[in-house]
Amino acid sequence: MQTMQLDEPLVLETLRQVVDPEIDCNIVDLGLIYGTRIEGRKVTVKMTLTTPGCPMHESIAGGVKNALRSLEAVEEAEVEVVWDPPWNPSMMTDYGRARIGLRS
């Protein structure tokens, strides 16, 4: 359990524990996180997946909740999966691109 101040950097850092097993890159550097909202001890994550109908949908969304709940400061975690705007590789960080050998 972590005893750190609950803010966006901590949430994003925590979400780096969630890795897309097909692409082998964490969801933050993959650019799947569209936003986070912190209200007291509740964290809501707005995110997408690389493709609609992704078979990893439930696993990754569940992983986000698991990771956030591992923080002591979090009591409730919610995940909102959206498809607009659709994900594209330009949303990845430089680290993410390098990780999966992406074409620029």
Binding site: Q2, P9, L12, E13, T14, R16, Q17, V18, V19, P21, E22, D24, C25, N26, D29, T50, T51, P52, G53, C54, P55, E58, S59, I60, G62, G63, V64, K65, N66, A67, L68, S70, P89, T93, Y95, R99, I100, G101, L102, R103
Partner: protein, 444 residues
């Protein structure tokens, strides 16, 4: 999956032990039995199982009924094993009985997937391809069963059982047998085979590619129009090819051209998707799949040669027909399935062992579940086996066929070892705790 792999293992073993099957003309009971073992036991079992997984993913919906899928598997298992055995002993009456059991399973499969298609939120080219494959599958199995009916005699139709509903049924079968006798039997067999291989397997490969290739390479369909054209041309061409082969009509070549045009559109679209991909490296699973579909090019040329009007049936023609069937089933379809094995099996095992642990512990990625070195060895051995078997068939040399099939068998051993390695994660999952909080900008 286990059933399919066992059927493949038995099939390849039969080729090693009886290589003469590929070195002689293919219209005999052993070749027909072994072909049905490959087609129904290996390919259909895997394809149907995969469709229950892939169709909902590709079309963003849920499978209509898992219970129906379980029942279908039972009918399929009894139907195909009985059929293969009875083909081997050439007991066509029993082939008809077991074929009827298989037909019930196919009916359940078609109903289940059709109901799943009805739930599709947005109809697209993938749904069209899957729906087309269902139609061709129904037709292929029905035509196959009709051919089996045509090879039986119906003495009982004029015996004591000739009255009542059973009598009507027997007279119906006798009428069907008389009708099928009008057609050339080898032509009818070839027409039936094309419905199954092109209509079902190639059509599904085409349709599913349009979802999986962009998904795995981080790309998009580049021309929906071209993708739709590929499926439309395949459907139109196949309908014509079926009728033309059945009637031995010279228009067979023109319709074969339509099928080839459909495959050309498909090939162009896949090349465009790959050119636009963002993910540079292609894993061995995808390489196997792409190699398999690239074999459609030589196969198309062979198809045009073999459909040339008035082509005489010489020894060489017979060998080319054997190569055509072998490359179609073992080359395109089986190689594509093996490639997709490395996508589907790791996912299913990963899902069973790790999906609830993601975010809590460090879990392996899908690629960590198997050995890429073994996969690469399997790829090259299989490719060498395909080339060597093709050459051996062309030479009509049974000993060379046996030797070449040993290469294919070796490749299957590498696949089996990797599958065992993947399945071991079900028994002994490998997870690690997160040591330290990962650094910003780094992967955990």
């Amino acid at each position: 999956m286990v059933t399919g792999m066992l059927a493949l293992l038995v099939g390849v073993s039969l080729l090693v032990l009886r290589p003469v099957m590929l070195a002689t003309y293919h219209y005999n009971q052993y070749v027909i039995a072994t072909t049905h073992l490959f087609v129904l036991g290996w390919i259909c079992t895997i394809v149907m199982g995969a469709m229950y997984q892939l169709v909902p993913v590709a079309l963003e919906t849920k499978l209509y009924s898992e219970k129906l899928a379980a029942w279908q598997f039972a009918f399929h298992l009894v139907g195909f094993t009985g059929m293969v055995w009875m083909f081997w002993t050439w007991n066509m009456k029993q082939v008809g009985h077991f074929g009827s059991v298989l037909l019930v399973g196919v009916g359940l499969f078609v109903y289940n997937i059709a109901r799943t298609l009805l739930r599709v939120p947005r109809w697209n080219v993938i749904a069209t391809a899957v729906a087309s494959a269902l139609v061709w599958l129904s037709l292929a199995v029905s035509v196959g069963l009709t051919l089996a009916v045509g090879k039986c005699s119906y003495e009982a139709a004029s015996g004591p059982a000739s009255g009542g509903p059973l009598g009507v049924f027997l007279h119906g079968l006798k009428a069907i047998a008389a009708f099928t006798a009008r057609f050339d039997q080898i032509g009818a067999m070839h027409a039936h085979a094309h419905l199954g291989v092109v209509g079902v397997f190639i059509m599904l490969i085409v349709g599913i590619s349009y979802k999986l290739v962009p998904m795995f390479t981080l790309s998009d369909i580049q021309s929906s129009r071209r993708a739709r054209a590929s499926v439309t041309l395949l459907n139109a061409g196949l309908l014509g090819v079926f009728v033309a082969i059945l009637l031995r009509h010279p228009l067979k070549f023109a319709f074969a051209l339509l099928v080839v045009a459909g495959l050309a559109c498909y090939g162009l679209e896949i090349v465009a998707i790959l050119r636009a991909r963002k993910r540079r490296s292609l894993d061995w699973g995808l390489k196997s799949f792409l190699t398999a579909i690239s074999l459609l090019a030589p196969l198309s040329i062979l198809a045009l040669v073999l459909s040339w009007p008035g082509l005489p049936l010489t020894t060489l023609t017979g060998r080319l027909e054997n190569v055509y069937g072998f490359l179609g089933l073992a080359g395109v379809v089986s190689f594509a399935i093996m490639g997709m094995f490395y996508k589907i099996i790791p996912f299913l095992v990963w899902y069973g062992s790790y999906s609830t642990q993601i975010g809590l512990r460090k879990v392996p990625s899908l690629a960590d579940l198997y050995s890429p070195a073994l996969q690469a060895a399997g790829y090259w051995t299989y490719l060498a086996g395909l080339a060597a078997t093709t050459l051996a068939i062309l030479l009509g040399n049974a000993a060379a066929v046996a030797g070449a099939c040993v290469l294919l068998a070796l490749s299957l051993v590498t696949l089996a070892l990797n599958v065992a390695k993947i399945l071991s994660h079900l028994v002994r999952p490998r997870m690690e705790p997160f040591n330290l909080r990962p650094a910003l900008g780094g992967n955990s």
